[in-house]
């Protein structure tokens, strides 16, 4: 049996994304193809489905077959229930956690200028889009939140760096009305490749099946 055939069957049968490593481990120990062979099979499958209405896509937790986005007007007609809508408050909270992680609830409230409702935090935790990665060593030991691979999967992304780039904060020009010219704090780089985030990305998130 050809490796490509097996990999394709596995990817269709698994109802969650599969990494190259996971695919390899399905093979018996003595007959395991190496990662390159699996990867070549995957690439060939991707090519095979280029013109079909389904595609093999890399998301954060691995490769998965999915119906192409262009088909969604048709496919959504299959399901009577409307997809959930998310409030601006939830999306903003999620964005802050994604870009500034790890953050406390206080940090989020600071940026948004309003308190964060418990419902929003619960929804994010409940959907396993966000999780507690630790506690900040300040009074009250508030929880530190980070985003998960599940969130990226949900948004069809394979890594945090595929998120829309956050605009850099412009340097504040000397205030027109003040004569102070003290050097500005250089604006923090908003790139999402801080060591902390990379660590988070590398961390295996033991996916729970819903």
């Amino acid at each position: 049996m050809e490796i490509k055939q097996i990999v394709e069957a596995l990817l269709f049968a698994a109802n969650q994304p599969m990494t190259v490593k996971q695919l390899r481990q399905v093979f018996p120990e003595l007959a395991q193809p190496d990662n390159d062979e699996i990867q070549r099979a995957i690439d060939a499958i991707i090519e095979d489905y280029r013109l079909r209405p389904v595609e093999l896509k890399l998301v954060a937790n691995g490769y998965r077959f999915q119906v192409k986005e262009a088909m969604s007007p048709w496919v959504s007609r299959l399901f009577s229930e409307k997809p959930p809508k998310y409030s601006r408050a939830l999306l903003e909270t999620m964005a802050i956690i994604a870009y500034k992680q790890p953050v406390t609830r206080g940090d989020i409230e600071d940026i948004r200028g309003v308190s964060v409702s418990s419902t929003i935090m619960r929804t994010l935790l409940d959907r396993e889009w966000v999780r507690v990665v630790g506690h900040k060593e300040v009074p009250g030991r508030p929880a530190l939140y980070s985003t998960t691979k599940q969130l990226l999967d949900y948004f069809n992304l394979s890594s945090l760096s595929e998120l829309p780039t956050l605009q850099e904060i412009e340097d504040l020009q000397p205030l027109a009305s003040s004569d102070s010219t003290s050097t500005q704090e250089t604006s923090e780089k908003q790139e999402i490749s801080s060591p902390a985030i990379e660590a988070i990305e590398q961390q295996e998130i033991t996916g729970t099946l819903q």
Partner: protein
């Protein structure tokens, strides 16, 4: 999106009577008519959002906002809100105080040349506005990303012809009950969610009746009772029928006096039971 709708409303909605009385001293530079103020709290995600709206609305540079003018507008909003006795989140008032402070500081000659940028409340405010605006934009863009349930759909390929039985996660009853305990605790906090204490046998019977009704036009009332269950069973069935009627899930129909009672699935719209 919200800004657009707010602007849209302002063009469409006429000045209106607020709580029975016409609102006479509406500040002229207020950009939202009184009707829209009612949705104010839902439209804006907080004081920063409102400030951004005021700034963007006038194509002002965020780095060079006329504090005095913006403060005036902002405070006008807040005043109208409190005139209308709308419950205002404390954050809006804190911002008003901060703006007022900045305004007064700008009027005063600088006390000390050593004053840090850090301490300049205006710089802090501008920074916060920028940071919030960036997040707000990013959130809007994230909302446009293709996502599961809406744009991306999973594929289902049947594997039932696979010989080995799929091992499914095991659940202990206690795990489920503990999860439910959590739900109950939360529901207690949100006191408006009452979890009623219907005997479970009644709820179970409700399901059975509905299922029996599925695909059928009606059931005869008397058929819903099984004499072999004894008095208790009859009471359970009866309570289930009453509860289903109360929840509007079934209707009890008698076509003429002394005709047998019939139970049908409730029909508000056309009764199309075929999927």
């Amino acid at each position: 999106m919200n800004l657009d709708s707010a602007e849209h409303q302002l063009q469409v909605l006429p000045l209106a009577i607020v709580e029975g009385a016409p609102l006479s001293d509406l500040p002229e530079d207020l950009y939202i008519p009184p009707d829209a103020l009612k949705v104010f709290l839902e439209t804006f995600e907080g004081p920063l959002d409102l400030l951004l709206y005021l700034i963007r609305r006038q194509n002002l540079d965020i780095l060079n906002i006329p504090i005095a003018e913006i403060t005036k507008q902002y405070i006008n909003y807040i005043e109208v809100m409190s005139d209308m006795q709308l419950e205002l989140a404390a954050e809006y008032l804190v911002m008003a105080a901060m703006l007022a402070e900045i305004k007064s500081r700008l009027l005063l000659p600088r006390q000390s040349e050593m004053e840090d940028e850090e301490d300049d409340p205006r710089a802090t405010l501008i920074r916060k506005l920028q940071e919030y605006e960036n997040i707000k934009q990013a959130a809007e863009e994230i909302d446009l990303l293709p996502r599961e349930e809406r744009d991306i759909f999973a594929t289902f390929v049947d594997v039932s012809n696979v010989k080995v039985e799929k091992i499914l996660p095991d659940v202990q009853l206690k795990e489920m009950l503990l999860a439910f305990q959590g739900v109950l605790k939360r529901a207690e906090q949100l006191s408006h969610h009452q979890i009623t204490r219907e005997p479970l046998s009644v709820r179970e019977r409700m399901s059975t009746i509905l299922e029996n009704l599925n695909g059928k036009n009606h059931l005869i009332f008397s058929q819903l009772f099984n004499n072999t269950e004894g008095k208790y069973g009859v009471v359970v069935s009866f309570l289930a029928i009453l509860e289903l009627t109360k929840e509007g899930l079934i209707e009890i129909i008698q076509s003429e006096p002394f005709a047998p009672l019939r139970i049908t699935a409730a029909t508000n719209a056309g009764s199309s039971t075929s999927a």
